[in-house]
C-alpha cells in the first residue's frame, strides 16, 4: 500500500517544487533513541520516469518515523527533550570529529558511533569548532540511535569571547555563512537522528545570522502543537 505514483509535467529548461500527497501509515514502527526502543528505519525510494525515455533519476533514504521536541524548562533553564511524546534523560557525548586529517570512512564512522552507543550514550553534540558532520555520520547515528545536536561554525573563543577578543561580528561573509548553513540543512535534514540545530558553541551568532537561522529553521505551523486550557494537545493547522 506504500507505493504511489503521480503524473507531473515539467516545462523545458526549468525546475519545479512538488509536494507529494502525504502517505498515510497506521501505527508505523517508530524510531527510538538508543536505550528507548528499536531504531526502525524505512527505505523511502523516489524515482521519476519520463515518457519516451524511461527512468530518468532515482533517490533513496533510510527514514525513521519519530517526533523529537525540545523546550527550555523554566525552573532549571535546562533543555528538556521528548521523543515520540516520551521525556528522555540525555546521556550525551561531546563530538569534535573522527580524524584530524579528515579520513572519514564509513567503517570509521560505524566503529566510532557504535562505540558511543555501546557506552550507553543517546546523544552526540557536534561542537561548532568541528564539522557539520557528514551523511555517513548521521546514517550510523540513525542506525545506532544516537540523537545529534549539530552546531554551526561559531565558537566563543574565536568569535568574540576568546583571548584575544576577535571576530566580534563572526566571519567576514555572512551571506556565505548562510548559504553554507542552508545547503548543510538540505544535506542532513532527513536523518532521524538529527535532533537540534544550534547556532554555535558558547556564543550566539551575529544578530543577522542568528535571525536568519531562526527564521529558516522554525517549525512549519503544521508541526507546532500547543496545550489548550483543558491540557489537550492541538495543532495550529
Amino acid at each position: 500500500e506504500h507505493l504511489q505514483s503521480y503524473a507531473i509535467t515539467v516545462p523545458p529548461q526549468s525546475d519545479i517544487e512538488y509536494t507529494i500527497p502525504s502517505l498515510f501509515f497506521y501505527k508505523p514502527n517508530l524510531w527510538w533513541p538508543n536505550g528507548m526502543g528499536k531504531q526502525s528505519l524505512y527505505n523511502v525510494e523516489i524515482s521519476v520516469d519520463v515518457k519516451g525515455f524511461g527512468e530518468s533519476d532515482s533517490w533513496s533514504h533510510y527514514f525513521g518515523f519519530r517526533k523529537i521536541e525540545s523546550t527550555i524548562d523554566d525552573s532549571t533553564g535546562g533543555r528538556i527533550f521528548k521523543v515520540n511524546g516520551e521525556p528522555i534523560f540525555i546521556r550525551g557525548g561531546n563530538w569534535i570529529l573522527s580524524d584530524g586529517l579528515l579520513r572519514l570512512t564509513k567503517k570509521r564512522y560505524m566503529t566510532d558511533i557504535k562505540f558511543h552507543a555501546d557506552m550507553n550514550f543517546n546523544m552526540l553534540r557536534c561542537w561548532g569548532g568541528g564539522l557539520a558532520e557528514r551523511p555517513d555520520f548521521y546514517h550510523f547515528c540513525d542506525v545506532y540511535g544516537l540523537m545529534v545536536w549539530q552546531e554551526f561554525w561559531i565558537t566563543g573563543d574565536v568569535d568574540g569571547r576568546g583571548d584575544p577578543i576577535s571576530n566580534l561580528n563572526g566571519p567576514l561573509d555572512h551571506d556565505l555563512f548562510l548559504l553554507c548553513a542552508r545547503d548543510t540543512v538540505k544535506l542532513l535534514r532527513n536523518h532521524a537522528s538529527l535532533a537540534l540545530w544550534v547556532g554555535g558553541n558558547e556564543q550566539v551568532p551575529p544578530v543577522d545570522i542568528n535571525k536568519a537561522l531562526k527564521n529558516d529553521l522554525k517549525l512549519h505551523p503544521m508541526f507546532v502543537s500547543y496545550q489548550t486550557s483543558k491540557n489537550e494537545e492541538r495543532y495550529l493547522s
Binding site: 505514483s5 529548461q13 502525504s22 525510494e45 530518468s56 527514514f63 519519530r66 584530524g100 569548532g129 508541526f223
Partner: protein, 266 residues
C-alpha cells in the same frame, strides 16, 4: 550504448601535486599534458587520498611523519610559515563516461576546503568559497566523445589560515574565524594545530547520470496524530527538466519497511 542512469563515486586513481611544482595550466593538464598514472606517477605527482586532505595525501606517500605520534606535528611546516601556496594542491583523475542522447551528467563535490578551480577536458569552472557547501557542475556538454575524460582540481586553503602564537591557545590567533570553515584547525587546548588547515577535497566526489529530469533535495517529514497511531509521511522535492521539451513524468514513491535479514516487505 547508453550508460546506466545512476551515481558513481570517484574515489580511486586520483593523483596530486603541489601547485608550485607544476608549471602546466589546468587546460594543459586536462588536454595535451595529463600526468600519467602508470606505471607510477612522475614527480611531482603522487597518488592522492580523495576524499581527504593535503596532509592525508602527503602522509599516504610518506612525505610527512604521522602527526598523531609523539611530537611529529612539530616536524611538519605550518601554513603560516610556508605560505598558502605550499598547501595549494592539484588533484587529477580520469573517468569513463559517454552518455547517450537525452542523458545529462553532473559532477558533484560534497565538500571542498576552501575554494577551487575545476578543469575538465580543457574547460574551466571556478568553484566559490566555503567548506560546508556542495558544488554541482553540469558537464554533459564538455565530456569527451570517446568517453575518456580528464579532470583536474586546483584546491586553495582557507583565505585566513592564521598564525599559531608561541603560547598556542584556543583557535590560535582566531584568523580562521573570518572564513566559513572548521575552526579547530588552528589548535585548541586538546588539539595541536593542523598544518594544512584541512585543505582538500575532503568529502565525496560523485558523477551523476540522469535522464532529462532529475530529483533535487527531497525533504521528508513525518507527522503524528491519535497518540502516534496515525502518521503521515510528507515529501517535498524539486524536479529539474534540463531538456528543451516538456517532460511528461511519472513520479513514484515507495516506502518499504526495514530490512529484516534479507526480507524486505513493501
Amino acid at each position: 550504448m547508453a550508460v546506466a542512469v545512476g551515481k558513481r563515486v570517484l574515489d580511486t586513481g586520483w593523483l596530486a601535486a603541489r601547485s608550485t611544482e607544476v608549471a602546466l595550466t589546468g587546460v594543459q593538464l586536462t588536454t595535451t599534458h595529463p600526468p600519467a598514472a602508470d606505471p607510477a606517477p612522475p614527480a611531482p605527482w603522487m597518488s592522492a587520498a580523495v576524499p581527504g586532505t593535503v596532509l592525508g595525501t602527503l602522509l599516504k606517500n610518506n612525505l610527512i611523519p604521522d602527526p598523531f605520534y609523539g611530537l611529529n606535528n612539530q616536524a611538519i611546516v605550518d601554513i603560516a610559515d610556508a605560505g598558502r601556496d605550499y598547501y595549494t594542491f592539484w588533484f587529477f583523475t580520469t573517468f569513463q563516461c559517454a552518455p547517450s542522447a537525452n542523458q545529462h551528467v553532473t559532477l558533484n563535490f560534497r565538500g571542498i576546503n576552501y575554494s577551487a578551480e575545476v578543469y575538465l577536458n580543457g574547460h574551466e569552472e571556478v568553484l566559490p568559497k566555503g567548506m560546508f557547501r556542495r558544488h554541482t557542475i553540469d558537464i554533459t556538454d564538455i565530456l569527451h566523445p570517446d568517453g575518456n575524460n580528464q579532470l583536474a582540481v586546483l584546491v586553495h586553503p582557507p583565505d585566513h589560515p592564521g598564525k599559531i602564537p608561541p603560547q598556542g591557545g584556543q583557535g590560535g590567533d582566531h584568523e580562521i574565524g573570518k572564513d566559513v570553515a572548521t575552526q579547530y584547525v588552528e589548535g585548541w587546548d586538546w588539539m595541536c594545530p593542523i598544518r594544512d588547515r584541512n585543505t582538500g577535497i575532503w568529502d565525496e566526489v560523485l558523477i551523476s547520470i540522469s535522464g532529462p529530469v532529475n530529483i533535487i533535495d527531497p525533504h521528508l517529514v513525518s507527522t503524528f496524530h491519535d497518540d502516534f497511531k496515525r502518521s503521515y509521511l510528507h515529501c517535498t522535492l524539486q524536479l529539474e527538466n534540463k531538456s528543451s521539451w516538456i517532460a511528461d513524468c511519472t513520479l513514484k514513491i515507495q516506502v518499504s519497511t526495514e530490512l529484516e535479514g534479507n526480507v524486505c516487505l513493501v
